[in-house]
Symmetry: C2
Subunit: 275 residues, 2 copies
């Protein structure tokens, strides 16, 4: 499939594509390449697929608020998406999207779509100071240093991830002890970011517990992503912060700025604590 | 109705009660006293009603993650709650709750329930320093100073709200210019806080834009509340921070600590910007 400019369609667009199914809903082909290890698909990737289905049924252009409950880990391969439309108006539209595989519903998402205009922010959250991309640590290039037993996720080959050296100690054998990760992100095939990409970026870093030297998987239970602006072309800066860890639960906050330094998305998730 | 200890049932428990309806769902009586002005019911209050319905269908005791999409403003009076159960296990259970009034669905909520054990936090977020309750500014006692045109919400008579003087300037005619509010909260009838109360507290302060001298209503579009621990008896400290304001949208973050200084809940909402 070729786009208007004859460039091959991006891996992200292919992997998140939805088309009308036989029963009025949508179907997608979940791509095993967007996994966080052992074929477990990334939660942000799944949320982008659900957002595409919501947009296909909306008069608006952008997903501005998505809250997903992760019921089960869906298998790579065919998936069905049912969109239950809610109220829709000039400012915004609501829907509930259910993504299912052959085992049943896997992800249920409250969606709010709207049309972002690109107007300048009246109040913004400043981007933290991070060294330029070329001075940051490529996750893909350091994958061979992964701690024993840690599976290297496919995701790091789809999304170029350049860690701020101040938060990259864990990848080099010296965890910082602070649950914070910062990285420049862009798609490996140079597809430019857009609101759908931000939805994936909003869950694309390793668990912040990695920075504490705990390398277990931290399954997401509920993830909310807010898209605040259409990002400019180029690298996005993503900061993830772990919050409270108690009773087997922990929360993570993401903030994402585009190449101009504008805050373009934020997310919060509740996850099970890694072992 | 009397409780075991012969104390009258609290206003909050009466206003959020749900009972089995004729069609297998639940019914509630939305109490106009929990409004934010002009009979518009508070979003946190509505979320607590939805959480009660989720708990009534769950094997677990506490709402740990709730994400609600506010479709319409429901009228005070009778409401119906439909609970669509999702997967349920030893650790947690999912459901989707729809709250409707005679005009149709008004609020759809993704719910995750679990049972919090009270174990000490492994990592916590420290409570900010705020003067003791008796040195803080009672919203109810200063209601007569409300700016012209601002309706005094019923909520401030249900929830005792004592603002940190550092964030109370707007209530005394001198907005701080920073979108931050901090206050000690407890129910006016001394009912002790619990996880359901935290769900209401997570949206109980005035819009943070009030601290900027903008007194318009800021309708919530999507609200996520995470409950992290069962609160100890006594006053809770609630901090609300406004984030990015752009394109007619703004976000607010809440953090809530109990009387022992433990973080017990957090929330994030996307709202329409006040005029």
């Amino acid at each position: 499939m070729l786009q208007d400019d004859d460039r091959p369609e991006s891996a992200f667009d292919v992997a998140t594509a939805v088309r009308r199914g036989p029963d009025g809903g949508f179907v997608a082909e979940l791509d095993r390449g967007w996994d966080v290890g052992r074929g477990i698909l990334n939660g942000g990737y799944l949320l982008s697929v659900a957002a595409r289905a919501a947009l296909a049924e909306s008069t608006h252009e952008h997903p501005v608020a998505l809250s997903g409950s992760y019921l089960r880990t869906p298998a790579p391969g065919p998936a069905a998406l049912a969109v239950a439309p809610g109220p829709s108006g000039r400012t915004l539209a609501h829907s509930v999207v259910t993504l299912s595989d052959s085992g049943g519903p896997a992800l249920v998402v409250q969606t709010t779509t709207a049309t972002l205009t690109g107007a300048a922010a009246e109040r913004d959250r400043p981007r933290p100071d991070v060294p330029p991309v070329e001075q940051c640590v490529s996750l893909a290039e350091h994958a061979h240093l992964a701690p024993p037993g840690l599976t290297v996720p496919g995701l790091i080959h789809r999304i170029e991830t350049r860690l701020d050296p101040a938060t990259a100690g864990w990848a080099l054998g010296a965890p910082s002890g602070e649950p914070v990760l910062r990285a420049w992100l862009r798609f490996a095939d140079d597809r430019e970011p857009d609101p759908l990409a931000l939805v994936t970026f909003a869950d694309a870093l390793p668990p912040t517990s990695f920075a504490m030297g705990r390398f277990g998987w931290a399954p997401t239970v509920q993830l909310q992503v807010l898209v605040r602006a259409v990002p400019a072309p180029g690298w996005c800066l993503v900061e993830a912060r772990g919050g409270t860890l108690a009773d087997g639960w922990h929360d993570e906050d993401y903030a994402i700025w585009d190449s101009t330094g504008r805050l373009v998305a934020q997310s919060r998730q509740l996850a099970r604590a890694p072992r």
